[in-house]
Subunit: 193 residues, 2 copies
Amino acid sequence: MEKKKQSIGRQKIKMAKIKNQSHRQVTFSKRRLGLFQKASELATLCGAEIAAVVFSPGGKAFSFGHPDVEPIVDRFLGRFTTRNPSAFKGNDYLSSQLTLVLDLLEAERRCGEVLDQSKKSSGHRRWWEARVDELGMDELELLQSAMEALKCNVANHQAAVLAKNMNFSSCLGMSHGENLIPLSSNPVFNAGF
Amino acid sequence: MEKKKQSIGRQKIKMAKIKNQSHRQVTFSKRRLGLFQKASELATLCGAEIAAVVFSPGGKAFSFGHPDVEPIVDRFLGRFTTRNPSAFKGNDYLSSQLTLVLDLLEAERRCGEVLDQSKKSSGHRRWWEARVDELGMDELELLQSAMEALKCNVANHQAAVLAKNMNFSSCLGMSHGENLIPLSSNPVFNAGF
DNA sequence: TTTGCTATTTATAACTT
DNA sequence: TAAGTTATAAATAGCAA
């Protein structure tokens, strides 16, 4: 004796943008939660640090972070990191230049890990690829922020260099987050190049 | 007639850190890929913008971004945005900093592309990946030369920048202003220069 | 809109190569 | 040690309230 199905169950769907808006909204909510749950499990099971940021098509922001979004993305982007800021003593030119290059190389290293396929195929142009004369004041201020962060980074690296007499071990490894210090609490931020 | 099972199949596991290291490593790899796949599907199905950053317990970084990690997390963190665009017009210092950052980012981008090609297959360590304390005078001078070249580049760009009036529309795709965070909450800006 | 319910698809734990 | 297999666990599409 056959029981009538109460549901047709999950169906396979095409991997393309869902056209029906309400359907898309429901799927967005459910899958967003699912994504964050997966992220949480990965963090728990493997002891990983994970940050995830999602913007809905309408521009609403959602995030997951274990333990927190900001330090993870800062670390990934190479911003606001330092190893021994209080040891800063001077501004030896070569050291600062060296550390600046090290920053570039560090940034390079993290770029190599990016997986996204979509940028390969699209003609998308990143903001920093714009010509300077196309930038507006918003972007200039943006760049200024980046510059300040970079300056901080350089100063911090410089501190490490000087403190260890050109014998520091972890500028490129950056294997653990225990030395990361927020920019706002960094006493050497105002040091010049 | 019963067929002998070839596998016991997937088993339920306790949601806690996996103790066996090799098992944990396998799980990390598989679930990391699964997470990025979920993120990719969410982006495709719903037109969402998603950034995910994962650090393994060993400190290795992985990321997924659609379309790119950096603009998404910057937008989320409220960095690089402002409602007061008039403050720095014609500022020579700002212009020079701007061009320096552009150069840094350009160099970073170029390096990232190079890294992509070769890092998978070889365990070869490039000279700039060496620890600083392993570098000899030759390498240090090389770094110095690279810096000098960079400086020269910056100076050239600067001339072009100063000759222009900054006038443009947003290059950042910041079309959803409701998520922007006021500049005053940005530690970078509060640090001054 | 969010929540709950199946039936089905998808992810993946344990194993194998 | 990474990649493939299989059976079971988990996620979720389509409905319904």
